[in-house]
Symmetry: C2
Subunit: 141 residues, 2 copies
């Protein structure tokens, strides 16, 4: 199944005019296989030994994938970016995230749609919204 994800990842990368290197494929396959948003570190640790990447390369690969809208970054309050594969509803970037205050895991809350029945002060322009619910996950709570 992970092999299948590698093929999918390779396709996604090539369709965006990028080189399908082992690093990019590995990273995207990992993110595609994972439900929750992952930190730089978590991705690095899960990469097989044959595909160990430099920290900088990993950052640049993630940046490239995000630029091609294959993944997206998630803000957190621990000053660490998390990354999550884009698929389906996730592409809208208009869904919420849940962060466990205990184990720091981040998942997507697809069910929580954000209503736009409010308005900004005059002169202000809306671009996007970021909503994070904090609490304890099922394992920690």
């Amino acid at each position: 199944m992970l092999n299948q994800l590698h093929i999918t990842a390779e396709d996604m990368i090539q369709q965006n005019g990028g080189r399908a290197t082992a690093g990019r494929i590995g990273i995207l396959a990992i993110l595609l296989a994972e439900q929750q948003a992952m930190t730089h570190r978590e991705i690095e640790q899960r990469l097989p030994e044959a595909v160990q990447l430099d920290r900088v390369t990993l950052y640049r690969a993630l940046e490239w994938l995000a630029g091609k809208n294959l993944i997206h970054k998630v803000t957190s309050d621990d000053r660490v970016w998390r990354y999550h594969a884009n698929r389906g509803v996730h592409n809208t970037h208009q869904h919420a995230h849940f962060k466990c205050m205990c184990c720091a895991q981040v998942i997507c809350l697809d069910a929580l749609t954000i209503e736009r029945n409010w308005h900004l002060p005059t002169g202000y322009r809306f671009q996007e919204i970021e909503l994070t619910v904090k609490g304890l996950c099922a394992d920690c709570g």
Copy 2:
């Protein structure tokens, strides 16, 4: 007026059993005078020359003020904490923030109340919610 804020700040600090040092008073007065959430740097720059503090002392003073619920921290996506004085509705921590993507300023959106007509997956426990609207402020837009 800033003088008045100094007195207010001194009161607030003493009522929480802390020493009313020049640093703490200065920091809190600055935050009380400012509508928007301020970064460590911005606070440092606005401190009068007579009250220049070490970076560490500033961090520790902010940490102390946050622990006493006199101010609160605001998450941002640029890995920089911002601090905002607590007063009135702000104490609830259940209001939203707006961040300008151009000038990076953060203001509180008191009007935007967050509805709780949703629920988390089973086993998950809610603690708090953080909502950041991004866009352009009146000056930048």
